[in-house]
């Protein structure tokens, strides 16, 4: 062995550490002390949720407006987005790697593709559920087709659209946990760092669930704010 250095590493007696942690219990103290290490993964997870849903919404909206006029588009769009939806996220994260490499791009593409089916279908259903009488009344008042769409049909479809956003967001929070397989970060990566340590699993997993709940409430709040005429719940 190489000669002992003058300064020595402080070697504690084995087992001298916090008993709760070394016996792998659920340790509130450790959590309180170490909560900082979850901050970055949480932010990454937020990004991995909000960005795909936003992009997915934009794409789905464009597709839905197109399909509103040309009804025949609905079938193919749903079929294709349905295929994206059925492909498990882990598989998708690898299938994309030859194209987009390892990292956030791959995760994004896959996560966006999952939101398409849900959001597109909800927007389309929402628009189609507007009663024919309402449309006719609006047309009768002299509004053009386009104005009917933007001023009557979309506002009435808001609950359905928001429902779609809520579902898409919750789903994406869950799938973003697997983004670690695509080379991205997020709370899933943090879980895998120490998947045996109970406190770590509970905190990282719990944060994901809380995040989903928070988003859910936010979107619900936005929905209530946007549709003051529909305060009563069925």
């Amino acid at each position: 062995m190489i000669g002992l250095p003058i300064a020595q590493l402080q070697i504690d007696k084995p087992g001298g550490a916090d008993d709760c942690v070394s016996s792998n219990g659920f340790c509130p103290e450790w959590i309180a002390e170490n909560i900082d290490r979850y901050w970055t993964p949480l932010l990454e997870h937020v990004y991995l949720t909000v960005a795909p849903v936003a992009i997915g919404f934009a794409i789905s909206l464009a597709l839905a407006i197109m399909a509103h006029r040309r009804r025949w588009l609905t079938g193919p769009v749903i079929a294709i987005s349905g295929i994206f939806f059925a492909i498990p996220s882990v598989a998708a994260f690898f299938l994309l790697q030859p194209l987009t490499g390892l990292g956030y791009t791959t995760a994004m593409v896959a996560l966006v593709s999952y939101t398409l089916l849900i959001i597109f279908r909800n927007i389309t259903d929402g628009l189609r559920n507007v009663p024919a009488e309402t449309r006719d009344a609006a047309l009768g008042q002299g509004l053009t087709e386009r104005q009917v769409l933007y001023r009557v049909e979309f506002p009435m479809a808001v609950p359905e659209i928001m429902a779609g956003l809520r579902i898409a967001t919750s789903t994406t929070v869950g799938l973003a946990a697997l983004a670690v397989f695509a080379g991205a970060g997020g709370l899933g990566a943090e879980i895998l760092v120490d998947k045996r340590f109970k406190s770590n699993v509970v905190v990282a997993g719990g944060l994901a669930v809380l995040l989903a709940a928070a988003f859910d409430l936010m979107i619900l709040g936005a929905q209530r704010a946007m549709t003051p005429w529909r305060r009563s719940r069925a």
Binding site: N24, I78, G82, I83, F85, A86, I87, P88, S89, V90, A91, A92, F93, F94, L95, Q97, P98, L99, I118, R121, D125, R128, N129, V130, P131, T134, M156, P159, E160, A163, I167, S170, T171, V173, G174, L175, A176, A177, L178, F181, L187, G188, I191, L192, K195, R196, F197, K198, V201, V202, A204, G205, A208, V209, A212, A213, D216, R230, R233, A234
Partner: protein
Amino acid sequence: MIAPGLAFLGDFGEAIKFIFQERESVSGGVQIGGIPELAGFTATHMYVSLAALAIAAVLAIPLALWLGHLGRGDFIATATSNVGRAVPSLALLAFFISFVGLGYTNVIAVLVLLAIPPLITNTYVGVRQVDRDTVDAARGQGLTGMEIVRKIELPLALPSIFAGMRTSAVNVVATATIAPLANVQTLGEPIITPQTYGFVGQLGASILVAVITLLVDFLFARLQRAVTPEGVKLARPAKARRRFSFPTKRSPKQA
């Protein structure tokens, strides 16, 4: 543009070869890949998925049928669907690994928990959407609760129930991919052991997982169509396709 394009095909080409042909592992000395080994993984994969789906169906569907019949489960249906969607499968599996342990029972338990929410929600909504007049007429004719459920509500709710089974099946088969983390070697095994199987193996396994999941999705879609009575199919095409039915506000039409 050509080179990356060919490379892209190259990786996929290699991956497909991996599925059909044995080759030496990346770390050397062992033959891996090929149909026999992958068939073994696939068998395990399907076994845990089917077992979980069956157990979940037995647990969730009767309960939801009864709740739907009584009309009492609005909150439960929404709550389970919200919670079920929000819990990441990886978190749930890690939770079970750290608190319970490894092995088949563990993995199947996780998959059952993931399969239950869509089943409850869709079954409940399916029953609720049965025309109230029909149910009242039947009651007037003297049928008991159980008989109403069996003869009227269940058959009419079947399309929705199968829609739920389709969602659950896809979720379960997808999540079974990460079962190797708990010592159950499904098709996810090549994915988490790149030192043995290489990126080619990871890609090959991913292709298989994707294909199998699509097949399962297609199968259940067919089943769903098969159990949908002709009249219902024609009258409510949008609703029959709905997979995420959950108690919504009554639509403007009925307001």
